[in-house]
Structures are given as C-alpha cells and as structure tokens.
Symmetry: C2
Subunit: 233 residues, 2 copies
C-alpha cells in the first residue's frame, strides 16, 4: 500500500491546554480563541494573499494526541453518551485512520507577523496544522443536508458560579484580555463529562483553559456549579 509523508505547515496556540472540556465541534464556543503560527516558508504575506477576503477557514490538522497504531473500526462518540458504538467513518471522533481532523473556524484577523487569529475553535494547544483552506459558502453550506446522528447542537446545562469563582474569572479575564467568563460558560454548558456518568455532588472536575484551572461540580439540583478559577504555574 502506498504511504505518503506529510509535514506541519504550522502549529495552533489555543486556550485549550488539555483535551477535557474542549467543545466537541467548532463554533459551539465562540469565546474559544487561538492563533495559527505558520512555519517558514509559509509565514509570509504572499502565502496568505487574498485570505482577508474570507470570513471562515478550514483548518486541516493532526489529532497529535490521539494517534494510535490500531486500525480502529468503531468509536464511542461522546454525543451518543460515550458507551454506544458507531463506525469510525460515521463519526468525527479523534481516534481514526490517519488521525486527520478538519475544523471550520472563524478567521478574525491576520496580524503583521502572519499569525492567523481564529475563534470558535475546538483545537488543542500545540496541534500540528497540515493545511488551511478558505470556506466556500455556496458549495459547503447545505442547510437541507441531513445527519440523523447529529441533528442539532447538544442541549446546554445551566451554569451557576460560586461568587469567588466568578470574581476570580473576571479578574483573570482582564489580565489575559480574553472573554474567560463566556469561555467557561460555553465550554461547561456542553457538559464535558461522558453523558452516561452521574457523579456525586461532592465529585470535583477540573480543566485547564489558558493558564487557569477551572474547577466545577454537578450539584443535586442539576446543572453545573463553578467552584474555583485559579491561575496555575
């Protein structure tokens, strides 16, 4: 069987420092922002000429933390509760042949260093980028296409805050110059844990966003309660 070599053209810098709590699709968390840093020779204006004329781009990337040598035929997507199997080609799961992902993100701007500022991302920090392509709405927007497995966005959980956690998030938002409160609410409301888990209210979960650790639990009344937002390192 033929095999081919691919090489990153750049890397993603992302607010998501670990896989847990990353939205399962792009656009579900508009406050999730990052940049693409291109490698030479692509880090020059000539390679990007014209890209300012598009609102959204496809990022073709490697799921670098999900590479495995098995030939996986089925996956258990979180959308189906995490305990039901589906053919790997019927899913967008990260464990898949060739480990290639594609993600449609908003292109906010290109800076003078040729960094691409993107939002609505679902990309892990350090993701190797293989290609960038412009989105073509008249071809790729097919509203009457159907996908019975993923018909609509997941239902959202209500988010409540411990007062100190909220004021801490607001303080770090100012320091980071990032919409941190919105980011936490958008990511957690999609419920990062596998849907089939029913944790005790005393169980705490954590995820790293930018350089803060966000801690939450599932209180008895339902929803999510944010307990703490603490800078790490």
């Amino acid at each position: 069987m033929d095999s081919y070599q691919v090489q990153p053209i750049g890397y993603v810098h992302s607010c998501f420092k670990e896989k847990f709590a990353i939205p399962r699709q792009p656009a579900l968390a508009p406050a999730a922002r990052g940049t693409i840093e291109l490698l030479a020779p692509y880090n020059q204006p000539r390679a990007l000429e014209g890209l300012e004329q598009v609102s959204h781009i496809w990022v073709i990337f490697l799921f670098h933390r999900a590479q495995d040598q098995q030939h996986r035929l089925q996956v258990r997507p979180p959308r189906l509760g995490g305990n039901q199997r589906l053919g790997v080609f019927a899913s967008r799961a990260s464990h898949r042949p060739n480990s290639i992902g594609q993600s449609l993100v908003k292109l906010d701007r290109i800076d003078s260093q040729c960094q691409l500022h993107i939002s609505g991302i679902d990309l892990l920090d350090g993701t190797p980028v293989l290609d960038i392509k412009p989105y073509i709405p008249f071809i790729e927007s097919i509203p009457d296409a159907w996908n019975r497995i993923a018909e609509q966005p997941p239902a959202l959980l209500p988010i409540d805050w411990q007062p100190e956690a909220l004021s801490s998030a607001q303080k770090h938002a100012l320091r980071l110059q990032e919409p941190l409160v919105e980011l936490i609410e958008q990511c957690l409301s999609q419920d990062p844990k596998p849907a089939y888990q029913t944790p005790a209210p005393s169980r705490q979960y954590g995820a790293l966003l930018h350089d803060v650790n966000v801690v939450w639990c599932y209180p008895e009344g339902g929803g999510i309660l944010v307990l703490a937002v603490e800078q790490i390192g």
Copy 2:
C-alpha cells in the same frame, strides 16, 4: 520538523479519467458519479455503521497527480482567469503543501460490498482517500459566512450539440447506465479551459468521461458546441 506517514484507506473510482474538465468544486455537476472502494480492514460494515444516517460526506484525499516538492506560496486559480495569483491558503487549488484535498459529496448509497456510491464529485479516478467524515449541517452550513473570492457559482456557458454527438451520447448513456448527456452539459457549461484563452472556432478540445472521449469547440457566436462523443479503448 516532525513528519507523519499517512496511508490510503481506499481509492476513488470516478467518471473523471483526467484532470481537464473536472468541475472546480463538488456539487457543480450532480451527474458526476463514482464510488469509493475501501481497503482492508475498513471494507466491512462495522466501519460504516451509522453512515446511512447522513446525506453528505467529506472525502479527505490526496491530490495524487498534483504532488510536487516545491514549497509553493502562490497559485493561479482558474476562477480568477488562470493568470492572477493568490496565496495558496486563500485557494482550494490542487498544488498545495501536503497535497491534501477535502471534498463534500452526496452519499447516494452503500452497497453490500461496502462500496460508497457518491455523486456531485470533483475527484479524479484513482484518487487515494485518507478519511471519510460525516457532514454536520448545523455546524458546517454557515450561509452568512462570506468569501469574496468565490461568492457564487461560476456563470454557465450554453451548450449546443451536433446531432450525431447527441445521439452518440444518448447511446453511451444507455450502455454505461450513467446520465452522460447531463454530465457532459454540466461539466462543459463551466468552461474547462482557462478563462483567459480565446480559442479560434476551429480549435478542438477533448476530455475523457467514463470511457468516452468528448470533443468540443468554441463557435463564433459564443457558448460551446459538442462535436463528438466516441468510445475509446
């Protein structure tokens, strides 16, 4: 720089036997049909379980006839007439870093041999497939996204037929059990030649669709005249 190995999971069988006259985007020629033949171990129902629940799929593939070792920064897309340059990342052109293409096609059916029957394709026969992913309309259909470079489908040329060419196309359509007349009209009306060429009416062009060679010219009054449709080989 890290490099990664990728291996085809299957190959495309397509009505397009050469690059010339392939529509520049998928969906522009709904009569363009083909199949994806999966390689072991992916050629079994388990790998495809659930895929019958989606109308469209992304095919991630290699532009196997456009691979080159140069680090190309700019391209001359046919849409801009073929003589104006654009950054490679602002274009979907086939000559690009890593030679990876992505194409959104209609999934018509999956047969008992696990072959995927697809239409609206813009894929060359023999294309190596790296991955197949379900289309997710609620995420990937963004009608108000904008792309000022490719705002709408290209203007179509009117197609006229020499009577013998039309009856020949109808005869071969029956033999092939394919919508050959529609395929020829859909492909040629997009004008396969570079837009900046103004050929003499005596100049003949040809392209191979399925196993027939289609010959046409650009008559003085405008549009395209199909001159002949001949089985080859």
